[in-house]
């Protein structure tokens, strides 16, 4: 079972996609199939944390079989503390995405759900692949359904947004591929563990390694997105179907940064870290400022997300155990929170058919449950203690503080601003006097299916805030060896959050 489980996780949504594609497009049949398929995936994914052995860090549930002889591509999959919960997260977001699409997608369901499931497969593949070529395949595959669905279901400017998304995400993939092939030409392997040791012992010339690392970073930074590369985000958020938009930003890029940029090129990544920290902090403040002035709530959400992703970037490039653990944890938090916000805003859009914030107002009496959940999720987003966002923010910020006081303080300003824009948003939508739209619309409160999605997330946000050690214990196992290794090597002084000695 343990050796098969990752393959099964990968196959479950794929089988669902094929089934949806083959069976007729009859009333809600694709949706039900997709729901079952994603639930099965989620159930299988839960096997991983249940059987993960935190005492023995490193990759587990590994399968490593030759696939193509020349070039030597292996079907090499496995998870460690870093990817373990991300796989579970993708599994969880699957059924949520299907339920979020239930009412929103009314035409061409077959195409929609099969592409949705392909996207699921691709994301799972990205997280579990340990062969760079296989990883690259999944990485590219994760972009395709997205671009198609944006074009098909865009609200106003679908094709334009799809083109933008396509250009922003595919172009950086080209240097990534070249870099991967270059590594192969030097080391003769696509496999992550081999490459890590080969690069560590200097099998690749340092001058070339700089460019290779940069190519990796560029591809990932666009996908996160890191500050000046965020051009696609707002358009994608406002055009993509809800269930697709909620998975597009953040985790793929950030995970790849942690695994393949920091993991493969620690020296290069450490050298470029100050730049990334600076860009991350700029992203935090920039996103927050822009979120303050958006009129459309999808764009608002895009910039809010960008702000929070900036914080995680800072955590990734802080090169501390606490920061890495916090960053990984914050990826989970962020995705959950964003997913919930997408579902909630999507629910608003279905009811009121507009995403202009100004049209709303005073909804709290009309849709009290929606308002309550929105407030809870927003509070998690702005890092209220007892909810999950706080844990990640605290870990990242406190570790950043040990590296640079000024950047940490600037990042903490983002904490204030996030409260400002989220609460202002809540106020404009839910509080105050009822707007014309709210008064005239016959909209009803959350349906049972929506509540079934949202309450568990809300409870999860609380549990993740109260008992983060359930997660941190396993997440911590991934960066720990790297930190220890850094501490051993003399020329690379380890930057951990071991407290500095009191000076006076």
């Amino acid at each position: 079972m343990d050796s098969m489980i990752l393959t099964l996780i990968l196959l479950a949504p794929l089988a669902g996609a094929i089934l949806v594609a083959l069976l007729p497009d009859r009333s809600k049949l694709p949706a039900w199939l997709a729901l079952i398929s994603t639930l099965v995936t989620f159930g299988l994914a839960l096997h991983l944390p249940a059987h993960y052995d935190a005492a023995h860090p490193g990759f587990q549930f590994v399968v490593n079989k030759p696939w193509i002889e020349n070039p030597a591509i292996f079907y090499h999959v496995g998870v460690d503390g870093l990817s373990l919960w991300l796989v579970v997260l993708v599994g969880l977001l699957g059924p949520i995405g299907v339920l979020a699409s239930w009412k929103a997608i009314q035409r061409r369901e077959k195409v929609y759900y099969s592409l949705f499931l392909v996207q699921q497969t691709a994301m799972l593949g990205v997280f579990i692949s340990l062969d760079l070529m296989v990883y690259y395949g999944f990485w590219e595959l994760s972009l395709v359904p997205m671009a198609i669905l944006i074009a098909m279901y865009g609200r106003k400017n679908g094709p334009a947004a799809a083109t933008k998304f396509f250009l922003f995400t595919f172009i950086p993939s080209a240097p990534l591929l070249v870099a991967i092939l270059y590594l192969y030409s030097r080391t003769g392997s696509f496999q992550f563990p081999d490459l890590r040791t080969d690069i560590a012992v200097g099998a690749v010339p340092a001058g070339a390694l700089f460019w290779v690392a940069l190519a990796f970073l560029f591809a990932f930074a666009v996908k996160v997105p890191v500050f000046p590369l965020h051009g696609w985000l707002a358009d994608t958020f406002s055009e993509a179907p809800v269930a697709m938009a909620m998975v597009v930003a953040g985790k793929l890029g950030l995970y790849s940064m942690l695994r393949f940029h920091v993991g493969l090129f620690p020296v290069q990544a450490h050298n470029i870290a100050p730049l990334l920290i600076a860009l991350g902090v700029i992203g935090i403040l920039y996103g927050a400022c822009l979120a303050l002035v958006q009129r459309d709530y999808w764009r608002f959400l895009a910039f809010a997300a960008m702000s929070h992703l900036g914080l995680i970037t800072v955590g990734v490039y802080g090169f501390t155990l606490t920061g890495w653990t916090g960053a990984t944890y914050q990826i989970l938090n962020n995705e959950l929170i964003d997913a919930a916000l997408f579902v909630l805003l999507g629910a608003l859009e279905i009811r009121y058919a507009t995403s202009q914030i100004a049209a709303y107002g005073g909804l709290a009496n009309r849709v009290p449950r929606l308002a309550t959940l929105f407030v809870i999720v927003s509070l998690a987003m702005i890092g209220l203690p007892m909810l999950n966002g706080f844990i990640g923010e605290f870990l990242i910020l406190s570790s950043t503080f040990t590296i640079s006081h000024s950047w940490a303080i600037a990042a903490t300003v983002g904490v204030i601003l996030s409260a400002a824009y989220m609460l202002w948003m809540i106020q404009r939508v839910f509080y105050g006097t009822e707007s014309k739209l709210a008064a005239e619309s016959p909209a009803t409160d959350l349906r049972l299916s929506e509540q079934l999605v949202l309450w568990p997330i809300a409870v999860l946000l609380l549990i993740m805030g109260v008992a983060p050690n359930l997660w941190l214990r396993t997440i911590e196992t991934a960066p720990k060896p790297i930190v220890l290794q850094q501490a051993r090597s003399a020329d690379q002084p380890a930057v951990t959050s071991v407290p500095m000695e009191v000076q006076r």
Partner: protein, 635 residues
């Protein structure tokens, strides 16, 4: 150690109350909602009472909260003398205010929601007080901010209310920013956030003063100014009066806003090592006390007067902290909780009687219509004005005496405190006269006394306001000394009596002026005549809100909108993207000509491609020195 005191019950009971009412309250009858809501603080209060007999300090740990590498944050509750007093005040006064709310909020459709929030507040507040480390305290700290936000914006359909809630949360967040930085500094320098460990580490290092500790202390104090509404972050508290009056009594007078004082007292071992930070605390405290008192002089909204009074009294407490008289500050905190809660509740009763009217200019003559409210309010007014042997007489005096005893700066601060005492008496009696004396100025004539559920708590608090001072007079410092240390400088007997006399005299002077201006002449805006400019300045609260709006909010929004969004995002980044897209589509337009659709031209290019490929494959053999050996030439 010894047997468990079940401290976890103290926050947990209100939390259960919150969950029950919050999730089910909508469908429950009001009686059940009130029963749940009342039992929670009562249960907590009883647990605290039981715990108070145990040996102190007592700490209980419930495992680890966050563990990453070297960082380890425990879930630890600590009960010592300081937290015991706070808990008694919070749960005791909290319980009384819950009872009061049953009457006050009886007709509100959000009844269940109100009590859920109130219980949530108690949960966070008790967590804040019991917390054994700074991060857990921060949980409560932010949590009470949340409860405050929810309760201020309780009538969320009123724009002013939801505005005020938002403002409170955001301003508090600015303070929390300082708190967080303080936490990071602590963590970076000491590697722990546990109060007992920190105290030990600092005690083990007697030469460590100033420097880092000053930075930490100042950062923590920024947090305190946010939560406790001190200069320059006090602006949210007056607006917070948009919330229901019992909320103002509980959160914005008696308990939450004193969290800053509690936090400074809790971390006094850091402040003690930094004279600079202490001076800052004292100066800010004294300045706030005077500043807010002057604004309070001219406010016409009964709750706003009390709000500015709260800000001012909190200033007193920080003044006490700033001269290292922590026990005096805590003492004042306690008495203030009694009389200010009473003032707010009585004001609430007045508002209730007036059918929701809060403008004092429209009140008057309520003395006969609401006698119990009148008498309890009178007790509170006397107490806050420092009438001899009432509660604030002792506590305020303790602070002023400590200030006077602490150096030359202390003398100045003492004088500011004395002036403030006079101003306090003046605006309190102004309120008293305008509300209860003279002719009724309301069109709504059928004012009535409040129900007993509201008057009962008033009576109990009145007793405490009058006699609360005797609880602590003389003994308080000794009781708290295990936590806060002993204050060495004591005033000599005669000087202390002179101080008392001066303070009482200042109060009496304030009363006298108020009596002259508002009772004998019974006109509303007497101060306006002699100094209209000054009056306007005070009436508009020194234009601080406008000032903040002008230098912070507006520039931020303008910057975001016009510079960041239009210039950076649209023009520069968008322009770059368009430039790239332009290059792409231009090259596309050029290359498109190749795609003529003409098969023969495709074939021509294909042939060219084949020729080039062939050349590259064969070139080394054809044009190089070596001749061509095909693979099987050896056959």
């Amino acid at each position: 150690m010894n047997e468990s005191l079940h401290l976890w019950l103290i926050p947990l009971l209100p939390f259960i109350g919150f969950l029950l009412n919050g999730l089910l309250g909508r469908r429950l009858p009001k009686a059940v909602v009130s029963a749940i809501a009342l039992l929670a603080p009562l249960g907590s209060f009883l647990v605290v009472l039981l715990a108070s007999r145990a040996a102190l300090p007592h700490s209980e740990s419930y495992g680890n909260w966050i563990t990453v590498g070297p960082l380890n944050i425990d879930l630890t509750f600590v009960l010592d003398q300081l937290s015991l007093i706070m808990l008694l005040v919070i749960t005791g006064v909290g319980f009384l205010i819950h009872i009061y709310s049953v009457g006050y909020m009886h007709d509100d459709e959000g009844y269940w929601r109100y009590f859920a929030y109130l219980n949530l507040f108690l949960f966070f507040m008790t967590t804040l007080v019991l917390a054994g480390n700074a991060l857990l305290m921060f949980v409560g700290w932010e949590g009470v901010g949340l409860a405050s936000y929810l309760l201020i914006g309780f009538w969320f359909q009123k724009k002013s209310a939801s505005d005020a809630g938002k403002k409170a949360f955001i301003v508090n967040r600015i303070g929390d920013f300082g708190f967080l930085i303080g936490l990071f500094l602590l963590l970076a320098n000491f590697g722990t956030l546990s109060f007992s460990d920190l105290a030990q580490k600092i005690a083990a290092n007697p030469t460590m003063t100033g420097g880092v500790l000053t930075a930490i202390a100042l950062c923590l104090f920024i947090g305190a100014t946010g939560k406790s509404a001190q200069l320059p972050l006090y602006v949210w508290l007056p607006d917070a009066m948009e919330g229901p009056t019992p909320v103002s009594a509980l959160i914005h007078a008696a308990t939450m806003v004193t969290a800053g004082v509690y936090m400074v007292a809790r971390t006094h071992f850091i402040f003690d090592r930094s004279p600079l930070a202490l001076s800052v605390v004292a100066i800010i405290g004294a300045a706030t006390a005077l500043f807010a008192a002057t604004i309070g002089l001219v406010q016409t909204d009964i709750k706003r007067v009390l709000a500015y009074s709260t800000v001012s009294q909190l200033g007193y407490m920080f003044l006490g902290c700033g001269v290292a008289a922590y026990s005096a500050a805590i003492f004042h905190l306690m008495t203030h909780a009694f009389f200010k809660a009473l003032l707010f509740l009585a004001a609430g009763s007045v508002i209730h009687a007036m059918g929701g009217e809060q403008d004092m200019r429209k009140m008057g003559g309520l003395r006969t219509k609401t006698p119990i409210t009148f008498w309890t309010m009178t007790m509170a007014v006397l107490a806050i004005s420092g009438f001899p042997f009432m509660s604030a007489f002792f506590s305020k005096d303790a602070i002023l005496a400590a200030a006077f005893a602490s150096g030359s700066l202390g003398k100045l601060l003492w004088f500011v405190g004395l002036v403030t005492a006079g101003l306090t008496a003046f605006y309190m009696f102004r309120l008293w006269y305008l509300t209860f004396f003279g002719e009724t100025r309301s069109h709504d004539a059928h004012s009535h006394e409040s129900p007993w559920s509201m008057l009962g708590p008033l009576a109990i608090l009145a007793v405490l306001s009058v006699g609360g001072g005797w609880i602590g007079a003389g003994r308080f410092g000794a009781f708290l000394s295990p936590v806060l240390g002993t204050k060495t400088e004591e005033l000599t007997g005669s000087l202390e009596y002179i101080m008392m006399a001066l303070a009482v005299a200042a109060g009496a002077l304030g009363w006298f002026l108020a009596h002259r201006m508002y009772h004998q002449r019974s006109a509303a805006a007497q101060l306006a005549a002699p100094a209209p400019a000054g009056y306007n300045l005070l009436q508009n609260k020194y234009y601080v809100d406008e000032f903040y709006n002008l230098i912070v909010v507006k520039p931020l929004l303008t910057l975001s909108k016009y510079f960041l969004e239009w210039v950076v995002d649209f023009a520069i980044l968008g322009g770059l993207a368009w430039l790239l897209a332009g290059i792409a589509s231009l090259s596309g337009a050029i290359l498109q000509r190749w795609q003529s659709g003409n098969i023969r031209s495709y074939a021509a290019w294909l042939a060219l491609g084949a020729a080039v490929l062939l050349y590259f494959v064969l070139a080394p053999h054809v044009f190089g020195a070596a001749s061509l050996h095909l693979g099987m030439a050896g056959h």
